[in-house]
Symmetry: C2
Subunit: 410 residues, 2 copies
């Protein structure tokens, strides 16, 4: 590997991604003084980056105070402090728990800046016996020792959740995974910037894959190209639906068996994460001249997708976007078309809150980011997809994706 190929990690943004104003308003409505993040996604929301754990019982918490001027607090095991020093100290006060031993050198040689910072942080950060003691100290320092707290219930050890509840007045600990998701519905500028970079990376690799399609190319070769390129760019490949020929009709694809043949279509639905933010985009490609059947079905899907976008603007209900898109596909050539949704919010989770689905009557708002997709899967025949990412603007939307929306012919 040449020096040029060394992956250079983009400078980590060390501030949190959180919409503090929206968070404060949700907390005020719910009578809460702080939200406590426990999942890697919500922790990244508060401090700007997720933190890895070695098993399900290891606990990390990030406290987002209602007071938008107060600094977040990060509760973490001492052995994770070195990682903090490497990624840059987030805009949060640190509270450690559990012992972890590293020694200062009696030799006293000069060291690297991250090690000096690690050692310095170790020396001046209090270490508590366990995560709840560290959390209590954080709440005390925030002058909200009694809460009330909304706690992301999905990644706190339930036994600790119960203990926390017992240590505070009744009702002062309430589940908050849903509240975090509600706050995260409206993205901050920093989040949109990350989503844009993630979508752009995804599309760049998707375009390369389109050009790789040729007679005899194996689905696995295309998937491997995706993995390789995303990882070299510092991202994490996740769901890689690459289906050729009949397998283009499989919604989710995790195993690859088929080689592309002339006349076959390839459906891409590609998902990765970059700096914690997801991308999810899709296209359909035909090797050689598309058949009448392929053209007709793609046109119907594309019509529904266009109709969905026509409705995307503040004040429109998610369910209304769904109904219009599905009806358009049905009238456009697939009368039996059915679908459970025509898109979903995207952000720190692949499916963020609000789905463009029949049951979801919430209104779109400026700053929400959606993947819009109206795919059709016909087992035994093939599948069609266009999926793009848009941010809702004051009077419509702006694409975060730019790849041509045609039926690609390769």
């Amino acid at each position: 590997m040449s020096a040029e190929e060394v992956r250079v990690r983009p400078e980590a943004a060390l501030g949190g991604m959180a919409n503090r104003e929206r968070a404060a308003s949700v907390m005020a409505r719910e009578g809460l003084q702080a939200l406590v993040a426990t999942t890697p996604e919500n922790i990244a929301y508060v401090i700007g980056a997720p933190l890895r754990t070695t098993n399900w019982s290891m606990q990390i918490y990030a406290v987002l105070p209602k007071d938008a001027g107060a600094r977040p607090r990060l509760v973490l095991p001492t052995n994770r402090l070195g990682v903090i020093a490497q990624m840059g100290v987030p805009d949060a006060e640190l509270y450690l728990f559990s012992d972890f031993f590293v020694e200062g050198s009696p030799v006293g040689q000069p060291s690297t800046p991250d090690i000096d910072l690690f050692y310095d942080l170790l020396g001046r950060t209090a270490v508590y016996p366990g995560p709840l003691e560290a959390l209590a100290a954080a709440l005390k320092d925030l002058d909200i020792p009694q809460g009330p707290l909304g706690v992301d219930e999905m990644r706190i050890n339930p036994a600790l959740y119960a203990k926390l509840g017992e240590s505070l007045p009744a009702g002062h600990v309430r589940p908050a995974y849903g509240l975090f998701r509600e706050v995260r519905q409206v993205k901050t500028a920093a989040e949109v910037a990350r989503l844009r970079r993630s979508a752009e990376l995804n599309e760049r690799v998707e375009e390369e894959m389109i050009h790789l399609i040729a007679d005899g190319v194996h689905e696995e070769e295309l998937a491997a190209h995706y993995r390789d390129r995303i990882i070299r760019a510092g991202g994490t490949p996740a769901m890689i639906a690459v289906g050729a020929g009949p397998r283009s009709a499989l919604p989710l694809i995790e195993h690859y068996f088929h080689r592309v043949r002339p006349g076959e279509q390839v459906r891409f639905d590609l998902c990765c994460q970059l700096d914690s933010y997801w991308a999810d985009t899709g296209r359909t490609v035909v090797l050689g001249q598309p058949s009448e059947w392929q053209r007709r079905h793609f046109a119907a899907v594309r019509g529904g997708w266009e109709r969905a976008l026509e409705l995307v603007r503040p004040g429109v209900k998610a369910s209304a976007v769904f109904a219009a898109a599905v009806e358009t596909v049905q009238r456009g050539g697939i009368p039996h078309y059915r679908r459970q949704h025509v898109g979903h919010a995207i952000g720190l989770e692949l499916y963020d809150d609000i789905v463009l689905a029949p049951g979801d009557h919430r209104e779109l708002q400026e700053g929400m980011v959606f993947c819009v997709e109206v795919p059709y899967y016909e087992l035994g025949a093939g599948g069609f997809q266009i999926e793009d990412t848009v941010v809702v603007t004051k009077d419509g939307y702006e694409f975060l994706t730019h790849l041509d929306r045609k039926l690609f012919v390769q």
Copy 2:
């Protein structure tokens, strides 16, 4: 990419990995009729492979009945059924929930075996409104509609856990993440085989990395080589501690800043997953002639590691292994040596249950698998590591790792 480079996934083992006898005995002791897995790790334990979700609220459950002759049950959203058809149907009865629409083709072209299987499964598997209804059907079919159940509390939606508890007699739903971990302490032959393959892959790449060390090589180049090779082999790279020179003293490394220079040491502590099972191995390498300081500290660490292994056999307490290893390092040249553990069980989690630590007085048993490590981190100077994986045998241990245990000189 040539055809030869196409990644070939090893034939997925579709049976579960579970030690059914040990599970039955734990359930008998606890008065439980079944264990319900909710985390990807415990689901993989029951059905042989994990299943991906798109956000934290998506639920997947795998039911392991006490009766070792009864088939496990898998509760999953309908949209995950296609993935099941691709990986091969596990040795479990399926229970679906939620709608997901795919259409059969009126064209009726022949399809691929996985699509035919998907379509066939869709046609003959009952779909329930939600995960709890599907779980109730599974329990009814197992003739244990009332439980009592041990439920892996770490990845079930807490609201659903509460609802499940209310639907059954008091005390019939109890947390079971710890029970799953207890059952998983003693590995089955299928698990040891997977751990062996994972360790062998990890070591093969580690050896390549040792040979890549040269003047001016960047930590990131070494880390990138690891990522690339593990992914090409079908694995998932996770923690990649590659620290050169002073950075060899950082326990966890996730950002890479340093180029190797002559006389510097490089510490590897490398973790990946292959077919759900973790590997975690480490070595220390010096570029050029090791200094007296490097030789002396490596010898002390190696002495402690050897002492730990001398004690590994059934009946020895984890804490006894710890005490002997630490004392040996202290007597062997690092009198101020401190450490929180000298190894950990490994399996479906990087840190499985039982840690070779002062507070853990449980006895080792045949079939347990441990990573044994006695690292030393001196900030401002450097770090040393040997980490190997062993399976406890009737009268000692067997290495799953084979790379030379010397201080490598490159």
